[in-house]
Assembly symmetry: C2
Homo-oligomer: 480 residues x 2
């Protein structure tokens, strides 16, 4: 073919739809972690692109032959690493439409539907989570939501907004100071348990971020933040930003938001709440106690692309006052100006990149085609499965649970030194039936089992537990 | 339905494939710019998500009823605003597969195929463009390519790499200096004609970036950069970064890379080349003279998602030495460590976000299903169409061409004061048949007509020219 014409697209596209359904419905049968070595792929491909078009049938065959042997199957019920990343049929279909329209929604005029659906979907989603009105665009104020690519970007964006707010406030009080001097005095706070991207946001933004030690249950508390703020004010620094985590990556622990909020508010410190994984659970009213105090935050972020069945990338962020962000980033060339500026958000000012896809379609499709009730059922099922695994672990005296199980993550280890648990993980991943990653808090090494797939059933957890148990048998036998 | 089961997905997905083909093949018939007013969409939707699942047939109907009236049709041959954004059938199908696999490729082990296909595809692409070996992973050194989300991110990533390199070098020479003091002395260079995202990268990175005035043909030259570097060294600053643009957004002008390279190299200034739009043209050997001197650059970026038929987001970036970047961003929690670290790139260190989709599939599908020859034909056709429009403009004495036409962009205006050209643009966009955006250089206002759609033919350009001419008739008549 000389170009992929519409008719060939219809054939190829539909073949890929079938391939997708086959892949996902039978994902259990594939080895979760590939056995390839680094560099496996290059020898399987020509060393340059072809001059002439190939047939789509050949490309599709190569997917199974060349790509699949190197894929880690994140949607297999045998995958328990990291946190889940979402995958659903409605989101995949929405992305086809997004690819067809393929608009770049940097301003309202660049595609009004792209901006406006995002505004309304973030309201729908905020309401579904029980977020206070003060975060929603429908409240009629400045507030509203935006889709970021990742939680890392949301943390950075909030930091930059906080920075511009703090600099402006301090300049008003001390007009004699240079901006660079103010910036060098800014200090932000986070927990040593917060996600690595928080530390990275500080590096990127060129800002001092203090990594505070949480309390004995690994939670950042109001006292800890208050003490740090006081110390820094005494040393002549300017506290300006704090990140509280609801559901840390290591152990799914929740910082004491209810205590931290008032401390931040009293000290004019921008409070950003990172609920990347656990935020999806707030769609169930019974888990909202875990975000008590959220009304004190300045910005809130969670990833529907983790646990709410919306494919990556879709990280939902709400800001009470996006003005600081818009001002911080406002670079306004003529070719991006338009007549309706100010009457709808120009989302390019709300994010790091300029370009943006039509991602609100995924949210719209998922919310309508699942409905709130089914999304709640999805969350509840994962949490129930985590408790199911927890009970299996608790029933075996060789193991201990290292953190209260609140969401879909179980943290556990073999009793005794770290070595045995390290050996256990190595053996589990080596056997290749299931895949887990470890973590370590205060020098205690443990394994994290996350419920990740929307296909996971109790019988899958039985398989995973059998793997863990048998690997433990082997490790403990080898130690004798 | 209780969940979107596989069979329903097969139906819905295939219906969306058909909808996509219908939409794109008949896109000419839609009004390019919507007539909706800000806020049009909210009243058309319920004020919250449904409790129970809806039918996919209803969602698909609403796409046409609610979304399409608010879409700016970027792929219509009547769309001449900004620069093109890519759209092709192979890329759309590849994105379905990416959505099905839905892995997050932050490390090699997180999905080896995702990382390795990206490494090889960036080699394929680099070779197709005639990039020097020194940028390619297959050269065996540290160099290699990566897919960024946008050119804005590439500019920021290069700036952060340059910053970490400069700080390290200066610290070695002056161990007595604090990092903050060094950073406050860093100064970068760009042209006042470079993209707004370059200025923004400076703001984000908290770094001084000087916006230099280009020469009388709007090109940044070696002399201009050298003069600025000398001035700044004399003032005690540390020059560290320079962005040269190949194909500016305003007028598709090419900075004098061949002169700027040696100046940057001699002064240890990291040279980043932003060829976001025009870079795709280098797939045709006859346009490579426009990147002469590229071997002197430290990093090079262009957007296949603009002009090379790979849907957004796919911004290709090559770095001669990514070590500086990797070191700058290296935050390494246990849960992201793996045994093969170091033997393949862990792309999380090469970018701002942590998460990343399997985007190399789009490149692979597009390169194989078009083949180099057809991609070359696509570029050549767009450039020929630009010259076709240019000749129509040149044949009408009321108009002038304001910039040499080298790629698929024609910059033109009505002779006389800016007012008439401003009135012309207003009238053109108001008539609603075609869509353009303006720009202004040294107070001269002009219109930009970009060839954007892969469906554009000479007869479409005839329509666009007719619109321009008739709008000019009206404007000039009204002025009498």
């Amino acid at each position: 073919m000389n170009e992929m014409e519409a008719n060939q697209f219809r054939e190829f596209g539909k073949a890929m739809i079938d391939y997708t359904a086959e892949y996902l419905e039978n994902i259990r049968d594939r080895r979760v972690l590939p056995t390839v070595e680094p560099g496996y792929l290059r020898p399987l491909l020509p060393d340059q692109a072809p001059q002439l078009p190939e047939k789509w049938e050949d490309v599709l065959k190569d997917v199974e032959k060349i790509i699949m042997p190197g894929v880690t199957h994140w949607h297999s019920p045998r995958f328990h690493a990291y946190f889940p990343t979402a995958n659903s049929y409605p989101a995949i279909v929405a992305d086809i439409l997004s690819g067809a329209i393929a608009c770049i929604g940097f301003t309202w005029i660049a595609s009004p539907a792209c901006t406006e659906l995002e505004v309304v979907m973030l309201d729908w989603l905020g309401k579904a989570l029980g977020l206070p009105e003060v975060f929603l665009a429908c409240s009629g104020g400045k507030a509203g939501g935006v889709i970021q690519g990742t939680a890392s970007e949301a943390t950075l964006v909030a930091l930059l907004g906080a920075k511009s707010k703090a600099v402006a406030a301090y300049k008003t009080k001390h007009p004699e100071l240079k901006e660079a001097d103010i910036i060098s005095k800014l200090v932000g706070y986070t927990s040593s348990q917060s996600h690595s991207s928080v530390e990275r946001a500080g590096l990127l933004g060129g800002i001092k971020l203090r990594s505070l030690e949480p309390d004995s249950s690994n939670r950042l508390t109001g006292d800890i933040v208050e003490r740090a703020i006081k110390e820094d004010i005494e040393s002549g620094l300017i506290p300006f930003y704090c990140v509280a985590t609801l559901g840390t990556t290591s152990s799914c622990t929740f910082d004491k938001l209810e205590e931290i909020g008032p401390v931040c508010n009293e000290n004019d410190v921008w409070l950003h709440v990172d609920a990347a994984y656990a935020g999806s659970s707030f769609i169930c009213p019974e888990f909202r106690y875990l975000m008590k105090g959220i009304e004190r935050a300045d910005s809130f972020n969670f990833n529907p692309h983790k646990w709410l069945l919306v494919n990556f990338d879709c990280s939902a962020m709400w800001l009470k006052d996006p003005t600081w962000l818009v001002n911080a980033f406002n670079v306004d060339p003529l070719y991006l100006k338009h007549d309706q500026q100010g009457s709808a958000p120009d989302y390019r000012h709300w994010q790091i990149p300029l370009g943006r896809r039509f991602r609100a379609l995924k949210l719209w499709f998922v919310l309508r085609l699942y409905g709130i009730e089914h999304l709640q059922a999805h969350i509840r099922k994962h949490i129930a499965l985590a408790h199911y695994f927890e009970n299996l672990v608790r029933g075996d005296h060789r193991f201990e649970i290292t953190e209260e199980v609140l969401m879909g993550l179980v943290c556990f280890r073999l009793r005794g030194s770290n070595d045995v648990s390290e050996a256990l993980l190595k053996r589990i991943n080596g056997r290749g039936v299931i895949h887990l990653v470890p973590s370590k808090i205060r020098d205690v090494y443990f394994l994290r089992l996350a419920i990740c797939s929307r296909y996971t059933e109790e019988r899958d957890i039985d398989v995973s537990w059998k793997e863990v148990k048998e690997a433990a048998d082997e490790v403990l036998l080898a130690q004798k």
